[in-house]
């Protein structure tokens, strides 16, 4: 049995089981731990496909930076008392979701995949390397979207600072002055 096959089945089983944990676990801390597990499994799938740059960025940005945001927020918001899952939506969404998954799986396995192929064949990628190929496209053809993405990050940073600011600081100053 090939190592690629073993890696695919183990990582995908881990991802699916942890995704069930993200959706259905009651405690929000278990949800976030399951999300880390999903992210690391998906990163393993990227390495298995041969996309090393994206796999390492997945670990760096998702499994470290974004998860830290969530942990900070659940440590600020106290524990949520109440039922975690709404049963009346559960009755509707499970069959509908199963139907959508069957449709997607049928289309992706039996559908026609005819399309134009690009220039980065496995021989070229073996010669150049995945990271060099991706970054050469990123900094030539997709340079303008790259700059726009940096602008989006700047706007998001300003927005997060404005939204997360405490209003109480000004009120305390007013009280002191009065």
């Amino acid at each position: 049995m090939d190592l690629h096959v073993i890696a695919f089945w183990s990582f995908s089983a881990l991802a699916v089981i942890s995704a069930f944990g993200v959706v259905f676990a009651r405690n929000i801390v278990y949800n976030i731990l399951s999300l880390i597990s999903v992210l690391i499994a998906v990163s393993g799938l990227f390495f298995n496909l041969g996309a090393e740059l994206i796999g390492s960025l997945q670990i760096l940005i998702y499994a470290v930076a974004i998860v830290v945001f969530y942990v900070l927020v659940i440590s600020t918001v106290p524990e949520y008392k109440g039922q975690s899952v709404d049963p009346k939506y559960m009755l509707i969404s499970i069959p509908v979701g199963f139907g959508i998954f069957m449709e997607l799986a049928y289309v992706s396995i039996y559908g026609a995949w005819a399309s134009a192929t690009g220039i980065f064949s496995p021989e070229v990628l073996k010669e150049v390397g995945n990271i060099k190929a991706v970054s050469s496209m990123l900094f030539t053809k997709y340079l303008f979207p790259f700059e726009v993405a940096s602008l989006i990050l700047l706007v998001a940073m300003i927005g997060a600072i404005l939204l997360g600011r405490k209003e109480q600081v000004m009120e305390e100053n007013n009280e002191h002055s009065v």
Binding site: H4, V5, F8, A15, V16, A19, V22, V23, I28, N31, L35, V38, L39, V42, L45, F46, L49, A51, L53, I54, L57, Q58, I61, Y62, I66, F69, Y70, I74, T76, Y80, G82, S84, V85, D86, M90, S93, G97, I100, F101, L104, S108, I109, W113, T117, G118, F120, S121, P122, N130, V134, M137, Y142, I152, L153, A156, G159, A160, L163, G164, E167
Partner: protein
């Protein structure tokens, strides 16, 4: 011979549907945001699988942009959650109904 790329796309569909069920079912607003992260990851898997099948790298460039957008979305969304919590002392989506007629 390794795994066919169709299996990766089917796995992506399964993760996407799980995220969709999570967005529909959960009542805690932070868990809803976590489910959207799951859906973004499903899209990433599909992008990379199509890339490897069609011998191109444009999908991986778009995965890079999705990572950027996900970071921005997490920052803004969690900032909104903090603002809502400070205003209402609650994170239940059933009780945040100011926009309902």
């Amino acid at each position: 011979m390794s795994i066919p790329y169709e299996y990766y796309v089917a796995l992506s569909g399964l993760l996407m549907v799980l995220g969709l069920v999570g967005v529909t079912v959960r009542k805690n607003i932070i868990a809803v945001l976590l489910s959207t992260e799951l859906m973004l990851n499903a899209v990433n898997i599909a992008f990379v699988a199509f890339d490897m099948k069609l011998h191109d790298v444009a999908g991986q460039v778009f995965v890079f942009f999705i990572l950027t957008i996900a970071a921005a979305e997490a920052a803004i969304g969690l900032g909104l959650v903090m603002a809502i919590y400070r205003l209402r002392k609650d994170v239940d989506v059933e009780k945040l109904t100011e926009l309902k007629l």
